[in-house]
Subunit: 142 residues, 2 copies
Amino acid sequence: MVKEGQLKFIGRVESAGELSKVKVFPEFCRGLQHLDDFSYVIIVYWFHVRDNEKERSVLKVVPRRHPSAPEVGVFASRSPSRPNPVGLCVTELLEKKGCILTLKGLDALQNSPIIDIKPYIPRLDSISEAHVPEWTTRRPPT
Amino acid sequence: MVKEGQLKFIGRVESAGELSKVKVFPEFCRGLQHLDDFSYVIIVYWFHVRDNEKERSVLKVVPRRHPSAPEVGVFASRSPSRPNPVGLCVTELLEKKGCILTLKGLDALQNSPIIDIKPYIPRLDSISEAHVPEWTTRRPPT
């Protein structure tokens, strides 16, 4: 069985903040057509500063920014230190201009490589009643 | 700038159907601790049957299963043919038993490698009012 997969990055975070700019590389830019028919998109990105053996061997974490959170398995957290440094963020798409997206709420650092962009479809992606443990509610996003 | 990333698969889909079984490899199994405090999880997986040059060069698609959908950029679709064959599915976690998860609603094929598992947190992930184009509403999940 195949044990590894190869990603080619399709863009990067040009600037990060309350509003972020994502630049899609010219060779992938045609893939953005009609993306702006959606008001929210899912950005799948690479935690590039955690892409090393030490961070990728983490299996237990104490979620930061959540006071008195218990130690949990890394797959029960959104920690950037994990076997595959893949981040996922639901963001509002404010503007698409050429190969540049302006996004609200992206939690990726500047220069993070982009792996994929997907349209956010509430019928598939929105589960408002999903149950979460109490510690996740104590503070802002992890 | 780095142009590629290396994934190591953490598990695979053992069986697929209305209920699916995902087996996490023993070396990553500790990372599942407390996952079952969440009722929904996000499964990030590899579209292994699309991992070839032809499917990975697709930039425009006509979304299947959506009658009279227009041609759109691949990033405005959930098509498995895309530059990085990374799939994402919000699923209900019915049971965790050792290294095996029983999931409801996973759209991955049998034997699909698993890249990551994340807890679903409505505060971050649920945007019930997100706008979508009309064609996405005409049929079941793409």
